[in-house]
């Protein structure tokens, strides 16, 4: 069988998988009765509904003609990995090294994701944004964010 819309095919599959997963997970909880619905009641029903809708999307992806097969297209791996990587790195570094170190790293690394990259520009951007964040969030709003590396404070 030929897939007529790649995008809808994968979307449908995603819905079916999620629907089955949630419905299956719901069986671990109590259903109660219709008069006293338990914690499993709502998610189980929704899971089935999502599976059904996903199946319909799949069906349409296999039957309805599209002009060019509706390809998903290439994944933008570079921005995807760099942006997500930078965010994860920040999440790990922040509690240990504080904002003063982790924020410039976050900005510098995420600047690598674009088409154009200039080292000096990225460094300036990191400095300016860190200073601005300090002014807005720490000084201005008084939010509790670790600022300095924990080993410096002791």
């Amino acid at each position: 069988m030929r897939i007529k819309s790649q995008k809808d095919f994968w979307a449908g599959l995603m819905f079916v998988v999620m629907g089955v997963a949630f419905a299956w997970g719901a069986t671990e909880y109590s259903f109660g009765s219709a008069a006293r619905p338990g914690p499993a009641y709502f998610p189980f029903g929704l899971g089935l509904l999502l599976t059904l809708l996903g199946a319909l999307v799949l069906l349409s992806a296999l039957t309805l003609e599209t002009e060019d097969g509706d390809r998903v297209g290439r994944f933008a791996w570079r921005p995807l990995l760099i942006v997500v990587g930078a965010v994860l790195l920040f999440a790990i570094m922040l509690p240990r090294l504080g904002m003063i170190v982790s924020l410039p790293v976050l900005i510098f690394v995420s600047a690598l994701a674009g088409d154009e990259f200039h080292v000096v520009e990225a460094l300036i951007l990191g400095t300016v944004l860190t200073a601005a964040s300090y002014a807005i969030f720490i000084y201005g709003l008084g939010l509790t964010i670790p600022v300095w590396p924990s080993f410096l404070i002791g």
């Binding site: 809808d8 995603m14 914690p39 999502l50 999307v57 921005p79 995807l80 922040l94 900005i107 951007l125």
Partner: protein, 503 residues
């Protein structure tokens, strides 16, 4: 005169120094993000949610509201000057507005857009003030069954009137509802889908979803596209004030756009986008012989949609303020912000927090006045900002999002969640699954479940309760009719062309 007494209270609240300041910050930021490329109100409001913890409820909500309608003004500036709509609701403005700019009438187009929006905003403020109490009155008679049915109608309406595949949009709502099920069950206290992770027993934060999908996910997809080169043809804008003839031509369109937008904004899923599309279609039908044809710089094509989108943006506050049901993603975030401040959105807001309710409404008019001043005399500043390269902008968005995520619970767990939803958001974007319905479903999920289970408890397990209670039955039938109408082949084709037309 209740209306006058209420509005007086509203203006007293909104005119305090603090509230004026935050209204100003809101509309300033709104205009800014409307002008800047690749940054929308959803991501901005999500980024600013940490400030909600620090501020009082009234200034915080006034500021967030200002961002939303401020973005409508900023979005039209880019549409007119560089043919790139800053916000989706300005898509139709670009058609005639940009042509006006190319013919040297950029000033007139900008002034028409701003003055039309201001007029629409003034009328819409009055509409909100007049109709909100009526709806609130009605909402008090709602039981759990009615609320459940209303949410079904709201969610269905939200996708029926939006663009894209209906089936996938409904599936995205359900997925959102399911993600909202990751929490501790309110009735039995059982943690669900937490996989033994303690942070998940409180549920996923809607901020993590909003920032991940609309912040990180959108950045990744923007970076995946070929770079957009912005060129501004109109370096300085002259002749801001429209001529007498312009006024005569634009005024009827402004009136029609305002009326249309005010009505469509209240509908679930309505708001700015739908209003502007509908208004453009209406203008083309009504104005038979424009001095300049549509598509070549007709002033009516700017005046109508611009008034309509501003009116629609404002009246879309009505369902959120009175029923606690968000009609679009921005309102979903506003509901979230209210919850953060311990205000349960719904009909009781008007009676329990009258200063908040009326202050917010009054601030919209004040905000609109500020926007006219910000946008017309200061247009030169915004033109300079139009060309800020995206490579400066997106690291800043990422940085602010990350800080915001951390401050939610002073814990890096939410940053990890945000990163995960960034990946998920990018996949959604690749598979053409619209994320806005997911966010609506996620916000409404727990409320829907609670009302469903309470309704069943009251009816002793009889599902017919949803159909036997006339109000509830009416709402469900309306939802069903909406789906049926949209799936009718003739309407379906029309719906698809309306949203694709000249975009």
């Amino acid at each position: 005169m209740d209306l006058i007494a209420n509005l007086t209270l509203g203006f007293q609240t909104a005119l305090s120094f603090e509230n004026l300041l935050y209204a100003f910050i809101g509309v300033l930021l709104g205009t800014l993000i409307g002008v800047l490329p690749g940054l929308g109100p959803v991501a901005t409001i999500a980024m600013l949610l940490p400030t909600v913890y620090v501020l009082d409820a009234i200034p915080a909500l006034i500021m967030l509201a200002g961002i939303f309608y401020g973005a409508q003004y900023g979005g039209s500036t880019t549409a007119i000057l560089i043919n790139i709509p800053g916000e989706s609701s300005a898509v139709v403005t670009a058609i005639d507005g940009y042509q006006m700019a190319r013919k040297g009438r950029a000033g007139t187009a900008l002034a028409t857009a701003a003055l039309g929006s201001f007029f629409a905003g003034t009328v819409a403020t009055l509409v909100v003030a007049a109709f909100a109490p009526v709806l609130t009155e009605m909402a008090f008679r709602f039981g759990p069954a009615e609320y459940f049915s209303l949410m079904v109608l709201g969610l269905i309406g939200a996708v029926v009137l939006a663009s894209g595949s209906l089936l996938k949009a409904i599936a995205m709502i359900i997925l959102g509802l399911l993600l909202g099920q990751i929490n501790t069950d309110v009735i039995s206290g059982v943690p669900r889908y937490s996989f033994g992770i303690p942070e998940l027993t409180d549920g996923i934060s809607f901020v993590a979803i909003a920032m991940g999908v609309f912040g990180f996910g959108e950045i990744i997809s923007n970076l995946g596209k070929p770079a957009e080169h912005r060129e501004v043809f109109t370096k300085d804008v002259k002749g801001l004030w429209p001529t007498r003839q312009d006024f005569r031509e634009a005024a009827p369109s402004v009136l029609r756009g305002t009326a249309l937008g005010s009505v469509l904004g209240v509908l679930p899923g309505g708001g700015a986008l739908l209003s502007s599309f509908a208004s453009y279609t209406l203008e083309k039908k009504i104005v038979r012989n424009p001095r300049v044809p549509f598509g070549q710089g007709a002033i009516q094509g700017v005046a109508g949609p611009e008034s309509a989108n501003n009116a629609g943006a404002q009246t879309s506050f009505i369902p959120m303020l009175t029923l606690g049901i968000p009609p679009n993603a921005v309102m979903a975030l506003m509901v979230g912000a209210m919850t953060i401040k311990g205000i349960q959105p719904g009909p009781q807001v008007m009676t329990n927090n009258p200063e908040l309710f009326w202050g917010l409404i009054a601030s919209m008019w004040i905000g609109n006045l500020m926007l006219v001043i910000l946008n017309l005399p200061l247009i030169g500043i915004w033109i300079k900002l139009l060309t800020v390269p995206y490579r400066f902008l997106y690291p800043a968005i990422i940085a602010f999002c990350c800080i915001g995520l951390y401050t939610l619970n002073n814990n890096n767990f939410d940053i990890f969640m945000g990163a995960a939803f960034g990946v998920i958001g990018y996949v959604f974007w690749k598979l053409r699954c619209e994320p806005a319905p997911l966010l609506l479903g996620f916000i409404l999920g727990p409320m829907m479940e609670e009302n469903l289970r309470r309704a069943l408890l009251l009816s002793r397990g009889d599902w017919m309760t949803f159909l036997e209670r006339p109000l509830s039955a009416g709402l469900l039938i309306a939802a069903l009719l909406l789906v049926l109408i949209v799936t009718m082949p003739s309407i379906r084709r029309k719906r698809e062309t309306t949203f694709k037309e000249e975009v």
